[in-house]
């Protein structure tokens, strides 16, 4: 029963969602829409699990003075300040919660995002080293694309922006579509494996 019940639920839910995609008639539409709503309800409930886990992990770290426990009070205080402020004042604009979000959370997120520029530079430096003919090809095309993006490219030779457009819209799009088509095949295959109970490792590898 421990195996059959989850497999039966997966099979039923999967088949209902497939039928809902192809058949607009009731009861499939009703069932499909309701299953999606159920997921939202389950996900909302699971937020409490996430919060409980966060608090449990960090209070345990503090209590047992585990490695790097000094970071945990920062997490707990940050969480509690945002939670209590939102609870007391609400989360609408121009209120303390919004102020904290706009002046602390948003700038910290932007800071992390801005680090991407440096990471791109270091990764590009490694990737663009002309160690073999494929890396040289990558380096050449990247150089052309970058040159085509800036005015000096057109000043040097008016065909460089056209080369950039060709590289971006023909080989690049072809490669991306190949990945997307392959991934779509994988999605269908994985879904069928799970719906028909062929793939069971999500049950812990139970056979």
């Amino acid at each position: 029963m421990r195996l059959i019940i989850p497999l039966a639920i997966t099979f039923t839910a999967g088949i209902v969602m497939i039928l809902n995609f192809f058949i607009p008639h009731q009861p499939f539409r009703f069932l499909g829409e309701n299953l999606q709503e159920w997921y939202m309800i389950v996900a909302s409930g699971a937020i409490f699990l996430g919060v409980m886990n966060l608090m449990h992990v960090h209070t345990r770290k503090i209590r047992l003075k585990l490695k790097n426990w000094k970071y945990s009070p920062v997490t707990i205080i940050g969480f509690l300040v945002m939670f209590v402020t939102g609870l007391i004042y609400g989360v609408t604009e121009n209120l303390p919660f919004d102020y904290l979000f706009m002046n602390m959370v948003a700038p910290m997120g932007a800071t992390m995002f801005s680090l991407l520029a440096f990471f791109v530079a270091s990764a590009a430096f490694r990737a663009f080293r002309a160690s073999n003919w494929r890396a040289t090809l990558l380096l050449t095309s990247a150089f052309l694309v970058m040159l085509g993006q800036v005015p000096i490219g057109a000043m040097l030779w008016d065909k460089i922006p056209l080369a950039k457009v060709w590289l971006m819209s023909i080989p690049n799009v072809a490669g991306q579509r190949a990945v997307m088509i392959g991934a779509a095949m994988g999605v269908v295959s994985t879904s069928l494996r799970m719906i028909f109970g062929i793939e069971r490792s999500w049950l812990g590898g139970a056979d």
Binding site: I18, F21, F22, I23, P24, H25, Q26, F30, Y39, V42, A43, A46, I47, F48, L49, G50, N53, L54, V57, R60, K67, N68, Y71, V105, M108, G109, A110, M112, F113, L115, L116, F119, S122, A123, A124, R126, A127, Q176, V179, M180, I181, G182, A183, M185, G186, V187, V188, S189, T190, S191, L192, R193, M194, I198, E199, S201, W202, L203, G204, G205
Partner: protein, 399 residues
């Protein structure tokens, strides 16, 4: 005397001005209104809403250009019993409405009236419609055929696998390195870090990632190394905890399972990236798995992982993130390889059969694409091939 004259002249001018400022006679206003009436809706069309569960009629109309703008529009409906009702009042400017309150199989008469100054003005022509439910999305029949074909091919190869037919699967370097990565972490006494992407459990890449997590967890349980799984969604955390726990039980090491190692960080994209970066820098894992859906945080995570000297195996079906992983990680699973990972790692004939079926379906589509490209190209000069290209386009277009 002069003052008196001035006062008289002022009074005369005031009287004349007042007379000029008076409202025009009522007859003049009526004539003007008769010339410019409230504009009404015209060319009203009513039809059953296509490809729906029924009970719905779509209405489209246009507005007359000449005339006063009405305050609002009322959509009226009458049924065969003769009962008339106002079903909705809409602001002026609306040119379409979908009536969701109709009964299937009943013939309804619709018309639109213009309201102005609280009174009913002119009305549009009448249009009839009978709502009905459809049993299939016509624009998705091609996709249904393709799905059946794919399912048939996959089932054929699964059956072949079950019968013991040897199935050749090309080696995927990233997956072949999973054992090495976990083994390396065990030898170094450092943890394995598994990042299942930043999306929720309704994303197929996250599902595929969780399936692989089960396989990786079995290996860490066998080798006795520590497995850390920070998640950005609480549902993913709950599922990951169960999957890892089950894997440890399967291997016979339930004592080695540590629930605290699978923790929820935050739903925020860059908050999560910062949290995982922190774990990388503090814990210095020897092996890092980045498998699932990633966006802009992909390179932030991969570069930090590289900086701590970990062997990194990444995989995603996001075409825009694959180059970042290729540049920063030791092995990258590209697109479909992410979905093939579980079958590849398990080496079970049934799962390998499904993988072979997936490859056969891909070959079928490659042939279809080549035929489509050739037909569309030569079709400009030879019309029979143009119709082949049109047929293929219709087959693969989903509406």
């Amino acid at each position: 005397m002069n003052n008196l004259s001035a006062l008289m002249i002022f009074l005369l001018l005031f009287a004349a001005g007042s007379a000029l400022a008076e409202d025009p006679p009522q007859s003049v206003v009526t004539e003007a209104a008769e010339e410019l009436e409230v504009c009404s809706a015209v060319h009203l069309e009513a039809s059953d809403t296509p490809e729906d569960a029924g009970g719905s009629v779509s209405l489209y109309w246009q507005m007359e250009i000449d005339g006063f703008e009405p305050d609002s529009l009322g959509v009226m409906r009458s049924d065969p019993s003769g009962g008339e009702e106002l079903i909705v009042t809409l602001p002026f400017g609306t040119v379409m409405y979908t009536d969701q309150s109709a009964d299937n199989g009943t013939e309804y008469d619709y018309w639109v009236v213009s309201y102005s100054g609280g009174t009913v003005g002119t009305s549009s022509n009448r249009a009839e419609a009978v709502p009905s439910a459809q049993w299939i999305y016509k624009g998705r029949i091609g996709m249904l055929i393709i799905l059946f074909l794919m399912a048939a091919v996959i089932i054929y190869y699964i059956e072949s696998g079950k019968k013991g037919r040897k199935l050749f699967i090309r080696e995927i370097a990233g997956l072949a390195a999973v054992d090495d990565a976990v083994g390396r972490a065990t030898e170094m006494g450092k943890p394995v870090l598994y990042i299942p992407g930043i999306m929720d459990m309704d994303d197929i890449q996250t599902i595929a990632s969780i399936v692989i997590l089960g396989r990786v967890a079995r290996k860490t349980a066998e080798y006795g190394s520590s497995l850390l799984v920070p998640t950005s969604r609480s549902v993913v955390m709950s599922v990951a905890q169960e999957v890892v726990k089950e894997a440890y039980i399967q291997v016979g090491r339930p004592d080695a399972y540590n629930k605290e190692n699978i923790q929820y960080l935050t739903d925020d994209q860059f908050g999560y990236a910062a949290g995982v970066d922190g774990i990388m820098v503090r814990e210095k894992p020897a092996a890092i798995f980045l498998l699932g859906t990633f966006y802009a945080e992909s390179l932030i995570l991969a570069e930090t992982g590289r900086s701590v000297g970990a062997i990194q195996i990444a995989g995603t079906a996001m075409p825009s993130q694959i180059p970042f992983f290729v540049a920063a990680c030791d092995y990258t699973l590209i697109g479909e390889e992410l979905f093939a990972a579980s079958a590849y790692l398990s080496r079970e004939p049934k799962l390998l059969g499904s993988l072979k079926g997936q490859d056969a379906a891909k070959l079928f589509f490659m042939i279809l694409i080549v035929i489509g490209v050739v037909s569309a190209t030569i079709g400009d000069f030879w019309s029979p091939l143009k119709s082949v290209a049109e047929f293929l386009r219709k087959l693969v277009t989903v509406n």
